[in-house]
């Protein structure tokens, strides 16, 4: 992973830890069903559709 030069050791550790945790979660929950589309922008109309 490339870091910009002025990031300190603590910042680099935080970034790496954040990305490791996020990617572990994202990869664990693979959703491949074609019905699983990204959520729409949340507006009440969209929620109404969910409720029906």
């Amino acid at each position: 992973m490339k870091f910009v030069a002025d990031l300190n050791e603590d910042q680099r550790r935080r970034i790496a830890a954040t990305l490791d945790r996020i990617r572990a979660g994202l990869m664990e929950k693979k959703i491949e069903s074609p019905g699983e589309e990204p959520a729409p922008v949340f507006v009440p109309e969209a929620f109404d559709a969910f409720e029906k």
């Binding site: 990031l7 970034i15 996020i22 929620f47």
Partner: protein, 453 residues
């Protein structure tokens, strides 16, 4: 009449009855904010601006022509809302914004209704954290015990309300930032359904998760304020179909679900207080295990970091030193996430919504603690509870983030105190777009737990 402990609704009644004037109320607020300056609630307030507004409000009320119920009520504003008369800094040195005669829509609504826009409150830098310990003016202090944090990111607003400086305050909530400090400081805080309240003029953290919300000393106060938050705003497209707020007086017996499972751990102390509070309601709370929570959390974090980095990208490249070290690390993490990872996170968001809507027994309200622990001490990096050891930051958002990821309306109400005398809050979550129903149910909880009418 107790100026420092009255709820906003009691202040409204006192003003109407002529027990005190808007001017004397404003003078009291200024005095109290100065007396309790060590709590570090405010970035700025200006005596002359406050008194000028109060004098005009006093004249209106005295002549029997108040503009609205909140005419003359001092209201504090989180420092990420644009205000025409105060600069906006988001408690960061990165991008301070001078007053430009622009009010955020909600501020404009309140000002037009006669509220006294009292000042700007301390917050976690750019709302990018839930402890309120990262701020360019220093951390806020918990009014119940100054050795403890307030939680955040709307920590200054919570302090200003809890300590009786103002009648109510404005917050914003991306992963619990209204609810967390409200719970830690023993007040009420509400996050509306995403898309029902205007975000216009509120500096974003993550625009598909952000929601503005009121913070106050009673549920009645929250309901008085919500008409000024909710409804269509042509400046915020997400509200294009938003209904105005109309309080519901009565509701039937609610179906209550008590969520548990991995990711819902809490301290024994908090668990006991919440269970006792639920018992007081005499409602049947069915246990339901919600799974995969930590994976959904990864999705929330991905969306949060990607959107925050997108918003701050230019500033990050031009003036990276303007951000605190921790905030900059968050933004740099967002810069390293890919479009595919963001889309994967959006799929997780859809999956979480389907779980909440279709895969659970029918429900009216979900019940959780707002926080798994009482407010931690300043300087503590980690917290241990329920067999988990997590960062203090993660302990604050522990139960709150999925209300933002799903867009659901959420409310925290105070229900007890810890052994050390620190407040413990209960979170109630409702169905999307049914904010009024959630508040009606919350009234039942509040009446039976706290005896509030």
């Amino acid at each position: 009449m107790h100026l420092k402990s009255d709820t906003m609704s009691q202040k409204i009644a006192a003003l109407a009855a002529g027990e005190y004037s808007a001017l004397s109320l404003a003078e009291h607020s200024l005095e109290r904010a100065k007396k309790l300056a060590s709590l570090n609630a405010f970035v700025t307030f200006d005596d002359s601006l406050v008194l000028k507004q109060a004098e005009v409000a006093s004249q209106r009320i005295a002549s029997g022509r108040p503009i609205s119920p909140i005419d003359g009520i001092p209201i504090a504003v989180k420092d990420n809302y644009l205000t025409a008369d105060y600069p906006t800094t988001a408690c960061s040195d990165a991008r301070p914004i001078a007053p430009e005669n622009i009010d955020a829509t909600i501020v404009a609504n309140l000002r037009a209704a006669g509220a006294i826009i009292f000042g700007k409150t301390n917050m976690h830098e750019w709302a990018y954290g839930a402890t309120n310990t990262t701020s360019n003016i220093g951390a806020t202090k918990n009014p119940y015990n100054q050795e403890h944090i307030t939680g955040g990111s709307s920590g200054g607003s919570a302090v200003a309300v809890a300590s009786g400086m103002v009648g109510a305050a404005l917050g914003s909530d991306t992963g619990g930032s209204v609810r967390i400090p409200s719970s830690a400081c023993g007040i009420y805080g509400f996050k509306p359904t995403y898309g029902r309240a205007s975000r216009h003029g509120i500096l974003p953290l993550s625009w598909s998760l952000d929601a503005p919300g009121p913070m106050a000393r009673s549920l009645a106060d929250i309901e008085v304020l919500l008409p000024f938050f909710m409804g269509q705003d042509p400046h915020d497209p997400s509200t294009f179909n938003a209904k105005p707020f109309r309080a519901i007086v009565k509701t039937g017996t609610p179906r209550v679900l008590n969520l548990y499972g991995e990711g819902f751990e809490r301290s024994d102390e908090v668990d006991l207080v919440i269970r006792q509070a639920i018992e007081k309601t005499e409602l049947v709370a069915e246990d339901y295990e919600l799974t995969d929570l930590w994976r959904y959390f990864s999705g929330w974090e991905t969306i949060l970091h990607c959107e925050a980095t997108s918003y701050h990208l230019q500033a990050l490249e031009k003036n990276p030193e303007g951000f605190s070290a921790v905030t900059r690390a968050h933004l740099e993490a967002g810069r390293r996430l890919s479009a595919l990872e963001l889309l994967e996170a959006q799929k997780l968001r859809a999956s979480l919504m389907r779980s909440l809507y279709y895969e659970m027994p029918d429900w009216d309200v979900l019940v959780l603690p707002t926080l798994p622990i009482p407010a931690p001490k300043h300087g503590e990096d980690c917290q241990e509870f329920g067999g988990r050891k997590v960062t203090t930051q993660d302990s604050m958002t522990w139960f709150c983030w999925f209300g933002n990821m799903s867009g659901l309306p959420c409310l925290t109400i105070p229900v007890g105190v810890s052994e050390l005398g620190l407040p413990i809050g209960m979170m109630l979550m409702g169905k999307a777009g049914r904010d009024e129903e959630l508040l009606a149910v919350a009234r039942i909880f509040d009446q039976r737990i706290n005896g509030c009418s």
